[in-house]
Amino acid sequence: MGRLLAACLRRQLLLAVRRPVEVVNPLVFFLLVVMLFPLGIGPDPRQLTEFAPAVLWIVALLATLLAVEGMFRGDFDDGTLEQLVLAPQPLFLPALTYVFAHWLLTGLPLTLLSPLFALMLQLPGKAIGTLMLSLLLGTAVLSLIGGIGAALTVGLKRGGILISLLIIPFYVPVLIFGSAAVQFAAAGNSAQPQLLVLGGMLSLAVALAPFAIAAGLRISVDAG
């Protein structure tokens, strides 16, 4: 079992190393959209400070959403997903490694780069720690929920926009608590309760999402 997980994780990371553009794209997207907001709102630093928590969180959410569509796409198209489904081990274990690899390649880099974006949007320095922590927990939840949508739509020829339609409603609680945590911290309050709620969501998602992803993958492989 450990061997299966290690092999799947190593393979995902190896694929990312061979095609690094797919890792860089969401980050560039993040940067581009962060650039759009001051152009739309105006350069006034006070206004930017006010909007920064929401902007950073919404952009992180969209960047994850863009990347999540490809979580199983390649493996479905070339048939390696069929082999995984036929493996003697339960499917939710490798499903979890796909999500983990996806988070390592999108959520984690986004989190690590977020201080830079926070500075560009004039987020107060004292909120940066909370921003990173909330993104660290929140993007993991986003990857897990997004994986369900990706698993259900990977067998469809016209997946595309459908996955956003399915998944964005489920992202609402993460956005609410993630941006609230940053807002609290920016106002000088403790964001601990919000971060705890995000942690709770993460544990629930880790416990349940892999089973939904596995069920979705079986249905999609059946359709393919």
């Binding site: 299966l4 061979r18 390649g74 198209d77 390696t80 069929e82 003697p88 079986r218 492989v221 059946d222």
Partner: protein
Amino acid sequence: MTAAAHAEPLLKVHGLELERGGRVLLSDFSLEIYPGEVMMLEGENGSGKTSLLRTLAGLARYGYSGGLQCNADSLLYLGHKAGVKTLLTPRENLRWYCSVQNLPLAGLDAALQSVELTGYEDIPCHNLSAGQQRRVNLARLYLSEAPLWLLDEPFTAIDRAGVKRLADVIAARAAAGGAVVLTSHQPLPSDYPVRRVSIARQERS
């Protein structure tokens, strides 16, 4: 096959009705496959050979009714899709397969040699020809320990010598107590020990 008849069937299908896209492909179809058998499914295009194989493999779990009992603890399925990641090398592809199927890595070099990929082990598959990529997928047959093989058109896109070798591996698996179900467009040698099962569409009366 008299000796085999006493053994448990590896795969038992009873009263299967198969339906795809609102169309009934098979109805009241029964089949038993015993260790030591090679079985070839015959039928025209669109008669449901692929759908039946995918159902037997457990890939298609909906759209059928009836009894389906598989006594093999693991199986190997070879489908239409390449089953090879083109960004990875043949060795990396097969190593992942071994880990997923929990097979020892020891036979990896021998398997690559058997499909004549020696010297290409560490070249990313997108640099290999279509035939070579196909052989990476076929190398799984040399690694597999699964008692039941379900092979959909294994003989396409390989040369005559390759067909001969592949037929030998399949026969060897059956001789070792396994069972193989396959479909093929190419005619197999007439002396090849194979049981032919027709799944020609039953006309509804």
